[in-house]
């Protein structure tokens, strides 16, 4: 279990407990957190589960694998701390993670 905080673009905070093994994207979708579309369902094929990861966390969570950076090229307003939330797997190590959701996914 890990507590994940999702912050929407208009500063609404959602704190949820997400089971280990799920992704940060699934945590958002299952808890009806607005702003994460996840059109392709986690296939790293659409860049609509884009989040910004708080700087201190960005280096702590597992690194991007091949292909994620390519998909981020297509995300809405990508920044240096952009990630696809379907590629961040929840574990005890990321307990307390905070992610910001962009104003739009496309």
């Amino acid at each position: 279990m890990a507590k994940i905080t999702y912050i929407t673009h208009d500063n609404q905070k959602y704190e949820v407990e997400v089971k280990n093994g799920l992704t940060v994207m699934e945590g958002a979708v299952q808890n009806d957190i607005p702003g994460i579309d996840a059109d392709c369902g986690g296939g790293m094929a659409c860049a609509t589960c884009h989040v910004y990861v708080k700087e201190d966390w960005f280096n702590k969570i597992p690194k991007k694998e091949d292909g994620e950076e390519d998909m981020l090229d297509m995300a809405f307003e990508p920044k240096t701390n952009s990630r696809l939330s379907c590629q961040i797997v929840v574990s005890d190590e990321i307990d307390g993670l905070e992610v910001n959701i962009p104003s739009k996914q496309a």
């Binding site: 579309d37 059109d39 392709c40 369902g41 296939g43 094929a45 659409c46 860049a47 609509t48 950076e69 390519d70 090229d73 297509m74 809405f76 307003e77 990508p78 240096t80 739009k104 996914q105 496309a106």
Partner: protein, 339 residues
């Protein structure tokens, strides 16, 4: 106006198999899709990715699946309207009047929505001012490259479209290529070529930059681009091209009076009919208790929706269930010999 027994919206695997089922039971149909090719997500998002859960097909790629489905439609004459998006659906007496963005109109008792997660549209710049110049001096695809001759073109993106157009246009234009990071994701040969052209001064390369604003009164005059370190550069430019891939959008479907929840359309599980009589939804775009977003579910849903279409298209005939292995009529439709 085109009259048809059923109109299918979406040429992905579900739409294709629904067409097969309609033709098999003796109905005619036409298919509309916003993409310029048949296959939907399978062809646009994952043509090379293997799929392992199509019944009786241990492994195939999105492209192979599409090819096989098209092959399965070979015996039939089905008109595809590609590059067209359905804009409007209106009731007219017992029929639905359907209009596309190209002005094609259909009159049909049955509309099958097999739209996946929506129609594919180009991803756009997030900066507001860009809208003002869209389709005048800012484009997301190239229709006529002649208009760019001798002009300054700023191309955004890091994939093959951006690279290919940068290479092509650098022959006769002044090209700026702008990308959000140093790495490009296109074919290695194209990447090498772009770097060579940049070295030779034929392409001005700006990496780790993104669009900040587009300037100009009536015509586009210049753009501001912003570096990751917040430095801003102003580039004189006549045209801007953005290549950020495609995004799926529900689009006009949202306005047709259907029960929509989270981008999916509610249907019953007998006919896969929506809350509007004669409008069905199948595949990823439909929802009902227990819905699985699998291609195989889309096939099943399309088969049942096709039978429901029969009732409205042939109100005076009785639908008779038949097997392809034994039915003479079906074999005639397929153009195969009966035993």
């Amino acid at each position: 106006m085109i009259k048809t027994d059923a109109l299918i919206i979406g040429a992905g695997p579900t739409g294709l198999f629904a067409a097969h089922q309609l033709k098999l039971i003796g109905l005619n149909c036409e298919v509309v899709d916003n993409l310029n090719k048949i296959g939907g997500q399978c062809i646009e998002l994952y043509p090379d990715k293997p799929i392992y859960d199509i019944p009786a097909v241990p492994e195939c790629t999105g492209e192979e699946l599409t090819k096989n489905l098209i092959n399965q439609l070979k015996p039939f004459d089905i008109k595809f309207h590609l590059n067209e998006r359905v804009e409007e659906v209106k009731k007219e007496n017992d029929n639905w009047l359907v209009k596309t963005n190209n002005g094609t109109t259909f009159s049909t008792p049955n509309v099958i929505i097999a739209g996946g997660v929506g129609s594919f549209e180009p991803r756009k710049f997030s900066t507001k001012e860009c809208e003002k110049f869209e389709n005048k001096s800012l484009f997301y695809s190239v229709k006529d490259k002649k208009i760019f001759k001798g002009k300054i073109i700023s191309i955004f993106g890091g994939g093959d479209s951006a690279l290919d157009w940068a290479i092509e246009l650098s022959k006769e234009c002044n090209v700026n290529l702008i990308h959000r990071r140093h790495e490009f994701r296109g074919a290695q040969a194209s990447i090498d070529k772009v770097h060579q052209l940049a070295k030779d001064g034929k392409i001005n390369l700006f990496t780790q930059y993104q669009m900040a604003s587009a300037k100009g009164d009536k015509n586009l005059e210049s753009i501001d681009i912003k570096h990751d370190n917040n430095e801003i550069k102003n580039l004189k430019t006549n045209y801007v091209l953005g290549f950020f891939g495609l995004i799926m959008q529900l689009g006009p479907i949202a306005n047709w009076g259907l029960n929509i929840d989270k981008k999916t359309i509610e249907v019953d599980t007998e006919k896969f009919e929506t809350n509007q009589k004669g409008i069905y939804a199948v595949g990823d775009i439909c929802s009902y208790p227990g819905k699985l977003k699998l291609i195989l579910s889309g096939f099943h849903e399309g088969a049942l929706a096709a039978r429901a279409c029969f009732k409205l298209a042939r109100p005076n005939e009785k639908y008779r269930f038949e097997f392809t292995t034994s039915s003479k009529t079906i074999k005639e439709r397929l153009g195969v010999k009966s035993d």
